[in-house]
Amino acid sequence: MTRYFVTHQTATIHCSTVTVNMTTSTAQHLWLLWTTKEPFIRPRPFRNQESTRPHQNNFSLQIMGDVEQQEPGNTTQHTFVLPWPYTATRLFFYSINQGTGKIKASRSPIFAYDISPQILFEETWSISGKPDLPWLHPGTPPAPFPYTGGGSLILRNSIDRSDALHLDLVALLGDSPSVLCNLFLRVKIGNFQLGLPTDDAQGSVLIVYAGSAGSPANRDGRFTLGQDPCVVSDGNYTYPASLNSTVGFPLSPMLLELPDICGNPDDPPPPAAYASELRLIASSSGPLNPQREWFFTYGPVQIGTTSGVMTDVSGQWRHKRIAPFIP
């Protein structure tokens, strides 16, 4: 049998990936095509002249990527792992097999999901050259999340103009050891800026690590900065070269994930050393030029979790494109 149809599907977000599971009627080898743009819908002509509705809709999708199933060979259970497009709020995907000869490839329905991240709390603050500004967080995290500590953000920046720029942002997340599971820290567009002279921007590094307060633990690992995945070596991440020559460069929408401490909910909780602190450090490895001005602005910073936030919106998205329909 060269054709198939989908009988069951689920999709979940785990850390930086979206996992899609499908069950098909026949053993197939499938690919998943996904996009974050809404489908373009063409209403087709009326076969029933007495009807005010089009006979059918044809859908066009601008595909952003395709993912092959993880299982080798032809199977009825299919698993796809695609990157979480966290800069978008909607995800559309469907599966397709490989047509043979004159037989067109079968397709699954278009599944639509809301993939908005779940924000635990958001910090809005800004500072320019003020050292040691404490900021207390007044928000209350959602009830299901095991958040027991009194959250606070403390911004510290210190400038040693003879040595290097050093910014230190610390999020104290309380005493719960599970608070850092599936956690991300996101800085919105344009709100995290390092206004530096070109010379000073060279060699800037961004360090993110989590650990207990006062302990530089867990610096090693793999992190993600914006759309550019990077492997952190010695706890440092070097900005892309395109940013190094920009004066006052703003960081792109940035999502700092901590996959190394992202655990499966069924896994045992991480060690207590991960519990209380999430730290973001931006620093310049080269000496600053004291003859030039520089500034720092931050915020808002969103801290949230990446699990359990996919919502099936298949029954909602379509009506926006076709209504009102004029026969």
Binding site: R3, F5, K37, F46, N58, Q62, I63, I110, F111, A323
Partner: protein, 104 residues
């Protein structure tokens, strides 16, 4: 097939049941000979398609609630039902993908 000006009385339509078939075609009332089941065996190419069609039509009842909303959303506002959409997708129609510019 013969075109008619108006639909005849219901008694006339029922009276010719099994002999003449009245129906509407593109808004025109027409009459034709009562359709008969073909007596000749279908061609091998036609018979090859029976298994596929049977699989998708009878297998529609196995689709669970995780897939049905997607089918419903694709058929809402049209003359199709979920089963029609499923058959179209099964045969590779109704969706086309593009990597180029957005269709106008």
């Amino acid at each position: 097939m013969v075109k008619l000006a108006t639909v005849p009385a219901r008694s006339i339509v029922l009276g010719f049941k099994g002999i003449i078939d009245f129906y509407s075609w593109k808004g025109v009332v027409v009459v034709r000979r009562w359709p008969r089941k073909p007596t000749q065996p279908r061609s091998a190419a036609v018979q090859d398609q029976w298994a596929d069609f049977k699989a998708v039509t009878q297998g529609f009842k196995t689709i669970d609630e995780t897939v049905m909303p997607a089918l419903t959303s694709m058929t809402t506002g049209t003359q199709l039902v979920q089963k029609d959409e499923q058959v179209q997708l099964y045969y590779g129609y109704a969706i086309e993908e593009t990597n180029g510019p957005w269709p106008q």
